[in-house]
Symmetry: C2
Subunit: 310 residues, 2 copies
């Protein structure tokens, strides 16, 4: 008699057959195998999402939760302008979970994966022993080189223009569950110009610009008037603060030389906007020119995964 | 000001410098990058371990817990006779966790990784928002081809001898936290003989032999008298049942033709024993010849990750 675990594993294996040439060993064995024509870089990212921290099972559907779990990993691939191609998913299930719930999770995972041709090739299903255990989803994703070397956080250059894709702020009103990771935009950016540094905005612009500056040994000055604010953020009490520190925008934050930025302005042809919002500076301060025209230090608010909101 | 998260990330990055040639982008960026001389298969596994299910933070040290989390993934690499080379680790932390706790986890991870030259190249640290959230550790591990094609579960042949490494049962008395994954043994097995099918024993022999049989479309008959029983299991009320269904032995379960088994018997030179415990049969029944010499169906006990103990 097959166990419940075997039944579920079989369901996943049959629901989406893997290409046997690329993935000769898939779901159901101790490991998944990939046959890669790998003449360049291989990259890996991993993200753990928790009920009550990154999603809320009392408010969000399991399909939305699973979609988000894949999408944040795809966004990491976008952050370095790489091509996602395979993922493994682990889930820690509450005691109350059913097989139907797992199928709904599976459906959300495939929905995100299919947008960019990323294959789900394996995973692990386990469950909490006590009633208090809440849903956790971990994904590890592999990607390979896109149009350029993987773009790092640590290579911003003094004089670079600081840019973002899309609009910022207000993600909690819904976009944090349904955003489209900027994989295509990142690949197009690196096709059109030399991008010096890049990351995706997960903690909030006000916090994430610090990572690029710290790792690159530079500073930045942002222009509050230039920051593109989402319609959801515009409805909040303080739209600029919302755009700076709500987080989970999953837009791209990148820096390019002024010459390369001109190329981008001229040739950019995707529907998602790119906007210049500041400059990389030599001294390590991070400042913002406010709506009132006054320059002040950019307060380090934003999300810290160990502290919560500052 | 660096955030607490940045401080911890910096600590990990500095505690163990990665070889910049093999791993040009490591901890601290959106993804980790590997430069592989990959002319063969690439494999990936992932395992999620939970407080109260796979370990108990009220009884076990964080170093033990982290060691086990790596070791179960290394054991998956062993199960296919592949060479582990890189891992990413995600942790979901209880609210009460400190930076010192993270360092202890890190130390346990390195202890296991260092046994087999596997590099820790990235990860994700997050924390539960409510007080009830318990520690979860997820690892995804990459490996490459060892001495043979990766050995699958689904390729056992009728007439094969069923073998195990080491002794079985009684893991809860301690070995489930401190076992040495059979990476070296698996590589030596595939060097000396053609291994037809293999997996590691995590749910218990009585349950895991079913996976090989089901996926290979064969049956098996085991000899109770031949099953190597650990000294811990011998102290239990029913040593044979303990060896069959305690689980978490993390020994290798494999099948070889009688001719190849002869080669193994003759040439095996590692301190861990290999023992023949049965045969693969044509009809799909799974049976056991008991200590009393009577044949009976092998009851499907053992650990099911979704049901718990049968």
């Amino acid at each position: 008699m097959a166990s419940r675990e075997s039944e579920i594993t079989d369901y996943f294996a049959k629901a989406r057959q893997l290409d046997a040439k690329d993935f000769p060993i898939g779901i159901g064995d101790d490991m998944a195998q990939m046959n890669l024509a790998l003449d360049s870089e291989l990259l890996i990212t991993t993200d753990m999402l928790l009920d009550g921290t990154h999603f809320d099972t009392s408010l969000h559907s399991l399909e939305e939760i699973a979609y988000k779990s894949m999408a944040v990993n795809l966004s990491d691939c976008a952050a370095m302008a790489t091509l996602p191609f395979a993922a493994v998913v682990s889930v820690a299930l509450p005691r109350s979970f059913s097989g139907e719930d797992l199928k709904e999770l599976h459906s959300g995972i495939l929905k995100a994966a299919d947008m960019f041709g990323c294959s789900l090739i394996g995973g692990d299903i386990t469950s909490w022993q006590d009633e208090a255990g809440r849903l956790a989803v971990n994904i590890a994703m592999l990607s390979k080189r896109g149009n350029s070397y993987p773009v790092k956080r640590s290579t911003a250059q003094v004089g670079d223009i600081v840019c973002v894709t899309g609009d910022l702020g207000g993600s909690l009103s819904g976009s944090h569950l349904s955003f489209v990771p900027r994989v295509k935009e990142a690949l197009r950016l690196t096709e059109l110009a030399k991008i010096n540094s890049m990351m995706d905005i997960s903690d909030g612009l006000g916090s994430d610009i610090r990572h690029i500056c710290r790792l690159s040994g530079v500073g930045a000055i942002l222009d509050a008037q230039a920051i593109p604010i989402s319609s959801a953020a515009k409805e909040s009490a303080n739209p600029l603060e919302s755009a700076l520190c709500d987080g989970e925008d999953f837009e791209l934050l990148f820096t390019v030389s002024p010459e390369e930025f001109e190329k981008l302005e001229e040739k950019w042809d995707l529907p998602v906007n790119i906007t210049a919002i500041g400059r990389i500076t030599k001294d390590e301060a991070i400042e913002i020119v406010g709506i009132d025209g006054n320059k002040s230090p950019l307060v380090a608010y934003g999300y810290d995964h160990l502290r919560g909101k500052d």
